[in-house]
């Protein structure tokens, strides 16, 4: 042990608050207790914070329990246990750093990706929105019919021998009482107040709170109108008025079939999450089931989509590549120009150039759509002397407009990163080039540009991925239009893949929703973007050798 080392040790240990022990003591204690068991002031702070985390976690667990969200409950418990273990164990030092990030990764990335992947293999969408139990329930309530011409009965909820029942007043003023098992029978000595039954011998009238406490039981209670099931049953929705209903659909839980009582048709569940009769007709409400690769085959197998899909794929690539190239070149050019120290008022110019970047993309694209209006747009009115140039309605001009607006929106970003990269170029390399006799152009081509690309290439790739999925611009500017004149699907010349997914999946409200198909298509897009990015990153690695 040398002298310098011990002087270095000293201030560190004495500097730690609450740690008055000499360096030797610290070293000795290292074996049986880590800093995690150092009961100093910091430990109690940690204790308090972990306690708070646990308290919130327990609140979350209780909420999840209340909502019967057992998956969330289990993950909450697992994360809480992990957090407590990590921050009190002496063996989990690296995890202390990683855990928060890891947990966020699991919740916000892995879960989302896995869930999208799962949905891609189901038929989740319109008509297949919920579970089978809920579908059955919905079908049953949708197919109850009030008996035509039947009257509304003032109704009271009663309890007969521990069973719920209804007491109604008929038009003759008679009181009839019944339960689910015993049909309505007339009770002679009941009391009626204000047209409603207030007292029945042998049964207790429930007050409002008692009724509300068992709303489900009351709304699902059916009291047979008479011994004949054909007469239907009394039902209520507000516990004030009863009506006579008959069911046209009956569910047999044992056989798992639905029967239409009017036609006798029997519906059995099929593997697409619907009740199907033998003749192939189905009942409206279905449920969500796993359908395998069906969504993927639909995405590529529907002949109506095949032609437009190819066109859209090509345009998507063209749009992304041209967008990146044009914004980068303009941004780079302006960055070079405004990087010249001889230019006066550079800061003002630079600030002005950033302005398009400061305007939200949504808004800017909408404003541009207005500016480019054929008859009333500022561009045609002012720059083209009122010429009716169809900027957004001609297939080729629309593409030009999309790229032009994206250039306006995108070059400030490239300008910013190029300015940054230019300013961080090592001056010695530039001086060396000068000394070697390289001219302006040569220096730019052989020194500045390669060095610039090293730092900006990853950003160009991310910009490509962003523009590949630049839904906002397309949707706000042209909505994909003008439409393909020869296609039978609502897709257009400026649609890119992501806006195609949007309209195919029906999320925009122009077609029945199909989340399964949308998820499948987004997985396909992800694969395309990921492949291109991976290839591009591999290529840019060769650039790094330059620096």
């Amino acid at each position: 042990m040398s002298t310098p080392q011990s002087t270095l040790d000293g201030p560190v240990s004495t500097g730690a608050p609450g740690d008055g022990e000499p360096p030797a003591g610290r070293a000795r204690r290292g074996g049986d207790g880590s800093h995690a068991r150092n009961y100093s002031r910091g430990f109690f702070v940690k204790l308090a914070i972990i306690a708070l985390v646990d308290a919130l976690g327990v609140l979350g667990v209780m909420a999840a329990w209340g909502q019967s969200s057992y998956g969330i409950l289990a993950s909450m418990v697992a994360l809480l246990v992990a957090a407590n273990w990590v921050y009190f164990s002496k063996r989990a030092l690296p995890m202390k750093y990683i855990l928060p990030g890891l947990a966020f990764l699991l919740v916000y990335q892995v879960y989302v990706v896995v869930y999208t992947g799962f949905v891609a293999f189901t038929n989740y969408g319109d008509g297949h929105n919920s579970t089978k139990e809920q579908a059955i329930e919905a079908l049953l309530i949708q197919n109850e019919r009030r008996v035509e011409g039947s009257q509304a009965y003032p109704l009271t909820v009663v309890e007969v021998d521990g069973e719920l029942g209804f007491a109604i007043v008929t038009t003759d003023g008679d009181v009839q009482v019944g339960t689910a098992d015993s049909p309505l029978t007339t009770q002679d000595d009941a009391t009626v107040t204000d047209g409603r039954v207030s007292e029945v011998p042998g049964a207790s009238v429930l007050d409002r709170n008692a009724v509300l406490a068992q709303q489900d039981a009351v709304t699902t209670l059916r009291v047979p109108f008479s011994d004949d099931p054909e007469d239907g049953s009394i039902r209520t929705q507000d516990a004030r008025t009863g009506y006579v209903y008959t069911s046209t659909l009956e569910y047999d839980a044992q056989a798992d079939t639905m029967t239409d009582t009017t036609t006798g048709t029997v519906y059995t569940p099929n593997d697409h999450g619907q009740f199907e009769a033998e003749d192939g007709s189905t009942l409206a409400v279905g449920w969500r089931v796993v359908v395998g690769f069906e969504n993927f085959t639909t995405a590529f197998g529907d002949s109506r989509y095949a032609g437009p899909f190819v066109k859209i794929l090509i345009w998507t690539f063209a749009f992304a590549v041209i967008s990146v190239a044009s914004t980068f070149l303009l941004g780079l050019f302006l960055a070079m120009v405004f990087n010249d120290t001889r230019l006066r008022g550079r800061k003002i110019y630079r600030t002005l150039l950033i302005l398009p970047y400061a305007i939200p993309g949504f808004l800017a694209a909408l404003v541009w759509a207005g500016l480019l209006n054929r008859s009333y747009g500022f561009i045609n009115q002012v720059f083209f002397n009122g010429a009716a140039i169809p900027w957004l309605t001609d297939p080729w001009l629309a593409k030009v407009s999309v790229i032009g607006v994206n250039l306006w929106l995108g070059f400030p970003y490239m300008f910013l990163i190029c300015t940054g990269a230019l300013q961080s170029l090592p001056t010695d390399v530039l001086e060396a080039a000068k000394i070697d006799g390289a001219g302006k152009l040569r220096t730019w081509r052989s020194v500045i540009l390669p060095l610039l690309l090293v730092s900006t290439a990853p950003l160009l790739i991310s910009s490509f991925a962003f523009n590949f999925n630049n839904f906002t611009l397309i949707y706000m500017l042209t909505k994909g239009g003008p439409r393909f004149a020869d296609a039978s699907v609502p897709l257009g010349h400026t649609d890119i893949l992501i806006s195609m997914v949007y309209s195919v999946s029906g999320i925009d409200g122009t077609a029945p929703k199909n989340y399964g198909l949308a998820s499948a298509l987004s997985i396909v897009i992800f694969v395309i973007v990921a492949t291109i990015s991976a290839l591009a990153f591999r290529r840019t690695r060769s650039l790094e050798e330059i620096s």
Partner: protein, 409 residues
């Protein structure tokens, strides 16, 4: 050990996030208290949008006082309600009641998220078209509170009398010497909703209708009548009367500046026309049959998964179906009420009365699920015909085939 403190703090953030996530982002704590409180006075969760919030709150206050129940109003953006309701009801986290529009009905029933409501004798107290709109397969699924439709809005300073036909309107507009003879919002995507009365005047409704006002999933907009309408569109476009450059904003702005005596539009435009002396007239027919606009009905839906169905129905049938509640909603939203008694009081305002009279001859917008497949083709075809980009009859027939293809898939 000091350096672990920031990490613990980060975990705190994580736990907060997870706690927030645990209810799929929808106030888990509030919902669990809802279920817990149902044992006493009962409680209701209602989704409302901003315009209707105060009016519903007023009715809820009466309800709370009389029944001892608690009502929780959740403010939602109207545009989000439909999708959120569809997504959340199956998870059991949705509201007991939500405001909504009648044309969502097909989608809501197909997905089994909405329960029928029995209005009983009260049904006759509503405007027939409003009940019709919320009826599917013989069951009523919503409590209507407002009826809205478009009409011809006339600037009386520029045109003294109401035109009976489209040609008369155009002639009157030209005689007035204003910039546009008549304004109708179009845009490059078209606007089939606003153009619908002109289409019906040619006898080409979108779907065939049963006697009771409900629709069959059978297209009716094709055929000779449809082609006649398409040809007429092209002629009007060529004559410069109709133009795809006229968007909603441009149309409203031009009318407000007095650049046209007529605009076809709804009550939502009226606020933009302050200072003008307006009259509301029936939409002039372009063809030989009456011009029938679509009626949109706003109402309340009860969730199929509501744990408080009794309270929800009680609230709607016995508290929201009253004249006071409907008038309060009218004052908030400025659309004619659906309850006839309330509509009669609201008709004291000549503008409201005008829209109501036009609405009496209108048809409900189809709420069958098939309607969702129509919009995407319809408007664009109209716009292409008007702009001259497409041959009218061929484009119209292709549109019918395309819609049939979309319905079949």
């Amino acid at each position: 050990m000091r350096r672990s403190i920031p990490l613990v703090a980060a975990t705190l953030g994580l736990a907060l996030t997870l706690a927030a996530c645990s209810g799929s982002g929808d106030e888990p704590a509030a919902d669990s208290t809802t279920t817990a409180a149902a044992a006493d006075g009962g409680s209701l969760t209602i989704w409302v949008d901003e315009t209707r919030q105060d009016a519903v709150a007023a009715a809820a206050a009466t309800f709370e006082k009389e029944t001892g129940a608690t009502v929780e109003l959740v403010l939602k953006n109207f545009g989000d309600i439909r999708a959120d309701f569809l997504a959340q009801v199956p998870t059991g986290e949705g509201p007991d009641i939500t405001v909504g529009a009648h044309d969502w009905l097909g989608e809501l029933t197909t997905n089994g998220v909405v329960a029928p409501i029995e209005l009983g004798d009260k049904a006759s107290e509503f405007e027939p078209v409003s009940i019709e709109a919320f009826t599917q397969d013989g069951q009523v699924y919503g409590l209507p509170y407002a009826v809205e439709n478009i009409a011809l809005i006339r600037n009386t300073a520029l045109a003294a009398t109401a035109p009976a036909t489209w040609d008369e309107a155009v002639a009157a507009g030209q005689a007035a010497g204003s910039k546009y003879p008549i304004l109708i919002q179009t845009g490059v995507e078209g606007d089939p909703y606003t153009y619908y009365p002109l289409q019906t005047s040619f006898g080409a409704p979108v779907f065939t209708q049963n006697d009771d006002g409900t629709y069959n999933p059978e297209l009716a907009l094709g055929g000779e009548n449809g082609n006649a309408f398409a040809t007429w569109l092209q002629a009007q476009g060529a004559a410069g009367v109709l133009s795809t450059d006229i968007t909603y904003d441009i149309a409203v702005d031009a009318f407000a500046k007095g650049e046209s005596p007529f605009i076809i539009g709804g009550p939502w435009m009226i606020d933009s026309f302050e200072g003008l002396d307006l009259a509301i007239d029936p939409i002039p027919a372009a063809g030989s049959q009456p011009a029938q606009p679509f009626v949109g009905v706003s109402g309340f839906y009860v969730s199929a998964q509501s744990k408080n169905a009794l309270l929800a129905n009680d609230f709607l049938v016995n508290y929201m179906a009253t004249e006071d509640a409907q008038l309060a909603l009218y004052e908030a939203g400025n659309r004619p009420p659906a309850l006839i008694a309330a509509a009669d009081s609201a008709a004291a305002d000549p503008i409201t009365d005008g829209f109501r009279k036009v609405g009496a001859a209108a048809v409900p917008m189809p709420s069958i699920p098939e309607m969702g497949s129509v919009w995407a083709f319809w408007g664009v075809t109209e716009a292409n015909i008007i702009s001259g980009a497409a041959e009218p009859v061929a484009a119209w027939e292709k549109m019918v085939t395309d819609i049939e293809g979309a319905l079949g898939s």
